[in-house]
């Protein structure tokens, strides 16, 4: 029984190799492993464990090395993404992999609230691990289309870790006082709110642009950069995925937040799914805006509906008045406005000077 389980696990690990390698050596490797495992099994469980540990330690590393070696052998042209790539449909597997970036956190929250009741930190670690693994796999394969959501989420995490403190210091009210804007004392609250919300989303846009500049400098990723220059909607997809993570932070500490969190992630997944199925850039961006709008509508609904269940209200026996609900929900409108604007900012890429083989792409 144990030997059969070991064989099955080994067969799964063989899929880490490239399809070409599997076709050439897969059957033979399986046969050799079977012989080695059978002999080790005759020697005892310790020998079998040693064999399995040896394989488990080496196989992922050699598989990665083989894939990287295969990528290096490819010519640069074949490595590049076809400029019309987004006009050809993705396979089902690719689409599933892409929207898994949004679905996996939703499934985790659902499973946790139904079966496990683990702390949120544990869920975050699992979702983060999944995202990091997918991001690394995408990077090894040169960031194919399905990896763009993970690329966006990775940039958001990096931005949160390295940029957030800087923007938090920047958006303090002291900045507005120093600017001495007319009537600032009347509209400070609203103006400060508008600027502070904008800086968060603009910060993500700046991180994305810096990342694109880095792509342009690295020879291995230059074809990807050129592909993005041809089709700016890819940047919108990256930003959209960054927003999915940041969106989660918009949910306050309400008692009944889980269904709203799941619903907003599902709307984001739907937007990404429709993006990948549409050949025209204007359609793709509209679906992203649609997914984002519906997700934020859910956030606003959550704040409106769930406010009476706010934990502090329950603890202090306080029943918030209706205007307080509106005060909680309206800022979501501000977030929506900034997020939509940032999602459309990549159109500015079309204004950058072009040369050589880059061609304009009609918007619709």
């Amino acid at each position: 029984m144990a030997i059969q389980i070991v064989h099955s696990i080994y067969r799964v690990f063989l899929h880490l190799y490239s399809p070409a390698f599997q076709a050439q050596f897969g059957d033979e490797m399986m046969e050799v492993f079977s012989e080695a495992a059978s002999e080790a099994n005759l020697q005892g469980s310790r020998a079998l464990k040693e064999l399995c540990l040896n394989e488990l330690r080496d196989l992922p590393v050699t598989a990665l090395r083989e894939r990287l070696g295969a990528e290096r052998i490819k010519k640069p042209d074949s490595f590049s993404i076809n400029p019309l790539d987004w006009q050809s449909p993705l396979s089902r597997g690719e689409i599933l992999l892409a929207i898994a970036a949004f679905l996996v956190p939703a499934v985790l929250v659902l499973a946790n609230s139904t079966f496990f009741s683990l702390p949120m930190a544990s869920l975050i670690r699992v979702a983060l691990a999944f995202t990091v693994i997918a991001f690394l796999l995408g990077m090894v394969k040169g960031f194919p289309r399905w990896s763009f959501p993970y690329l966006g989420m990775g940039l958001c995490v990096a931005g949160y870790l390295f940029l957030f403190q800087w923007t938090a210091d920047l958006i303090s009210p002291q900045l507005l006082i120093k600017l001495e804007l007319p009537f600032w004392h009347v509209s400070t609250g609203l103006l400060w709110q508008i600027i502070s919300v904008g800086l968060v989303w603009l910060g993500l846009f700046i991180i994305t642009i810096l990342f694109l500049a880095l792509l342009a400098l690295l020879p291995r990723f230059r074809p990807l950069y050129l592909s993005i220059r041809r089709d700016w909607t890819q940047v919108s997809l990256i930003l959209y995925s960054e927003m999915a993570i940041a969106l989660v932070l918009l949910f306050e500490d309400y008692r009944t937040e889980e269904p709203y969190g799941i619903a907003s992630l599902l709307f984001m997944a739907a937007g990404a799914w429709l993006f990948m199925r549409r050949p025209l850039p204007c359609q793709r961006v509209l679906f992203l805006l649609g997914g984002l709008s519906l997700a934020l509508w859910v956030v606003a609904t959550d704040r409106w509906q769930a406010l009476p269940d706010l934990r502090s209200a329950a603890e202090f026996h306080w029943q918030p008045l209706a205007p307080a609900q509106r005060l909680e929900a309206y800022p979501v409108l501000l977030h929506w406005a900034w997020m939509s604007a940032v999602l459309l900012l990549p159109v500015l890429i079309k204004l950058l000077p072009r040369r050589g083989r880059l061609e304009d792409e009609d918007l619709c």
Binding site: Q24, F25, E31, F33, A36, N54, D58, L59, T62
Partner: protein, 115 residues
Amino acid sequence: MADIESQLPLTEVTYFILLSLSPGPRHGYSIMKDVRYLSRDRVVLSTGTLYGALKRLLDQGWILRVDDSHDNGSSRVRKVYRLTNLGQHVLQAEVMRLNSLVTAAQLRAIIINPR
């Protein structure tokens, strides 16, 4: 010859695989066992390491992959590996290199104690 010398020194894995194939063709599992024997259990190849190395040696033209002419009792044709002339020359060059290193140590009367 200059081309062959530019390939040296070989890694231990490559060296032992070529050494294992020097008497004649072998299949993958036999190579694994023979390498372990030749290295006195010091080099234990996993399937990943073995086939990664075999692929490199095939690409370099140092070994060939052929059908096993012996009947193994099953309907499936087994693949075996054998040294090419180039692989043979590379192995000989490496053995000569290692021999010259040992000779240099002996000149300084360094005694090598077998374990």
